[in-house]
Amino acid sequence: MSQTASARPAAGYTTDEMMSVAAARALRDGTSCFVGIGLPSTAANLARRTHAPNLVLIYESGCLGAKPDRLPLSIGDGVLADTADAVIGVPEVFNYWLQPGRIDVGFLSAAQLDRFGNINTTVIGDDYADPTVRLPGAGGAPEIAASCREVFVVVRQSRRSFVERVDFVTSVGHGRGPGDRERLGLPGAGPVLVITDLGVLRPDPHTRELVLTDVHPGVEVDAVRAATGWDLTVADDLGRTPEPTERELTALRALTAASA
């Protein structure tokens, strides 16, 4: 495929594909990324196959510098160990690699995300002891959200997932606003980017509230507001995400096809 052809916007793609492509683009080559499973893993692997071949993928199962040739089906997929620069024990991942703030980007998903980028993957409902829905729990997320230099969140946007305030703070974003991370002593910058199937949100530098900064092609701002559980602020200079290129879509589809 010629360079020109591959950079051409693709004809048809799904909103999930747009989300994965937008998330992948956010990852800079040569940086290190602590990869959660699911949407983050798809995006990180796509980045490594497109513009960021030297992206260092770190999985909590102990795989440093994994270079999987297909999408791993779990954070402990054998393909991660087979292709890693080093396989280490799980305590070492958290203590020697994550905790000291060595990792550039923590890439997470969420069941619920709130106005300040706090993440809930524990319980839906007001009563922890008697929840409406019992979610999987914390996993590595609280410390990924605390310690990585920056956090990116990739999550499908809806009123169920984008709420005014999460039912349970599993992983701290920007707390209840400015200065909260500093007060808690959390070393990383927290969520600086939230990529959804509708657009991109970033925290306002002053209020730390998530603000819509980009919409994906074909998405109207009203649709994003309708999928947001708080009174969404839209950036003055709202951008529009460039469509996926053919090269990006081809790489993404090859990746997901190889995993089916």
Binding site: S61, L73, G78, L80, V169, T170, S171, G185
Partner: protein, 277 residues
Amino acid sequence: MARILSLADAVGEVVHDGDTVALEGFTHLIPFAAGHEIIRQGRRDLTLVRMTPDLIYDQLIGAGCARKLVFSWGGNPGVGSLHRFRDAVQNGWPVPLEIEEHSHAGMANRYVAGASGLPFAVLRGYTGTDLPAHNPNIKQITCPFTGETLTAVPALNPDTTIVHAQQADPAGNVQVWGITGVHKEAVLAAKRSLVTVEEIVDELRPRPGAMVLPGWAVTVVAEAPRGAHPSYAQGYYDRDNDYYQAWDAIGRDRDAFRDWLTETVFNNTATAGGGTR
């Protein structure tokens, strides 16, 4: 030197009603065969400990073996929820299940403290989250040099830890390669340990990336070929992803689960991991 026993004898020796038992294996090398043997032996009132309770604990919980679960992430990876776990937490079926919930970093460090003979571990963790409000086993501690506040979690010292590995030699020295997770820490933290292995070989051949657990640090070893199925054993077999998919329907329904228990666990005294395929 570890003693080498049959799987049934090994489980019978190391797992008793009321014990705190950790079955570990981080996606890789999950000791399903031993878990099924615990169900067959009818153990009750266990406190089950595991970073990632997935199908194996869904099965033990559904079979009524557990009264408490200590964990950091409970789900069917890539598929969805653990329905038996939810049914126990939300409806007390077949018996009520108490939970104690941590993060991975917290659990990993609890094992490290346990393996190290320390009563607690220090980490930067849980800060600002709602987890400490629901878990008295997450406390604060002050650095005696800088005055900084950090988090402390108590050591985990299970009565028994069970893990699966690729190989052991006749002296019970165990070799594990690929993702080794918290195998070493969980075994060393426990009062007793059982390592099930794919095979017992005459001599362990050193391999890149392998970790060796000396036989004198393990209580018993049992041969259990395919004992990690439906998870995987690097160098032996791949993950049975269809099993994980199929589990969703089985786990979702009490009757389907009871049928599965009868057919796959109770009518199957083989040492294998109990495949449904």
